[in-house]
């Protein structure tokens, strides 16, 4: 893998806490000494947050579809709507 991808892999392990303790601390020190590395770490963390956000959104859309599908069934529709009447 090229250097950038190796660095991305290292950041991933750092964020995952899967680096050995000494390497983790060393990496942390590097982020303090190099603002551009710190920025990459920050951006990569945001990518993971973004992936979670999109995944949850997608899952919620699928659950909404399931809800709408079940509400087409008379018995299910009745059992839910009577709770709120």
């Amino acid at each position: 893998m090229r250097t950038t991808l190796c660095e991305i892999q290292a950041i991933e392990q750092y964020l995952d806490n899967t680096l050995p303790v000494t390497e983790h601390l060393l990496f942390q020190a590097r982020t303090l000494a190099a603002p551009e590395l710190a920025e990459k770490v920050n951006a990569q963390e945001k990518v993971l947050q973004l992936v979670r956000w999109f995944s949850r959104k997608k899952k919620k859309e699928k659950l909404d579809q399931l809800f709408n599908q079940l509400m087409q069934e008379e018995s299910f529709h009745h059992s839910i709507t009577t709770i709120f009447t």
Partner: protein, 173 residues
């Protein structure tokens, strides 16, 4: 409908939604609120199950109801100190970032929905669905798991650069 690999999910959904709906109704919520809170609780449950972080030996239904109750109290009770001891159990903790908005601005979201959609799917398969590289290689038609892993890093780089670029442009404005 593909939400989880578990074939019993449909039955779990059918059995649990009415129970959550009754609880939400008792706290003064409407059907829309009940449905939304139930779906949030289901997603949190599925994530914890996927990550092996459930940390509690209760049925799926009991867990979902526990989470739904916490979400309901947060949303509907003006005085959140009414939380009972059950809901303070850390096993029912709601992920910190669950209700936070996306951490980037609209241009990055648009990019991911269009040009970056395949990358997003790949990253979701690995980081959210916790698929193995073997599975990812097969479903995304990569020759080997190694090729899929390299592609995953390329995708991370692509999205990360997009985020950095947007931030740079923001600073220029």
């Amino acid at each position: 409908m593909f939400i989880t690999d578990d074939p019993s999910f449909d039955a779990l959904y059918r059995d649990t939604l009415p129970k959550v709906a009754r609880m939400v109704r008792q706290m003064g919520g409407d059907l829309q609120t009940a449905k939304d809170l139930f779906h949030d609780a289901v997603i949190i449950y599925l994530e914890k199950k996927q990550n092996n972080t459930l940390k509690i030996a209760v049925t799926a239904q009991a867990y979902i109801m526990g989470i739904a109750k916490i979400l309901c109290i947060r949303k509907l009770k003006a005085d959140q100190r009414e939380t009972d001891l059950d809901t303070l159990n850390p096993a029912f903790a709601v992920p910190d970032d669950y209700y936070t908005p996306p951490p980037v601005r609209r241009p990055v979201l648009e990019y991911l929905k269009t040009a970056g959609s395949k990358c997003l799917q790949l990253l979701q398969a690995f980081y959210y669905d916790k698929k193995t590289m073997q599975d990812i290689a097969a479903s995304f038609h990569y020759k080997t798991p190694h090729t899929a892993a390299v592609q995953k890093y390329k995708c991370l780089e692509k999205v990360r650069e997009q985020i950095k670029q947007t931030r740079y442009e923001d600073n220029l404005v």
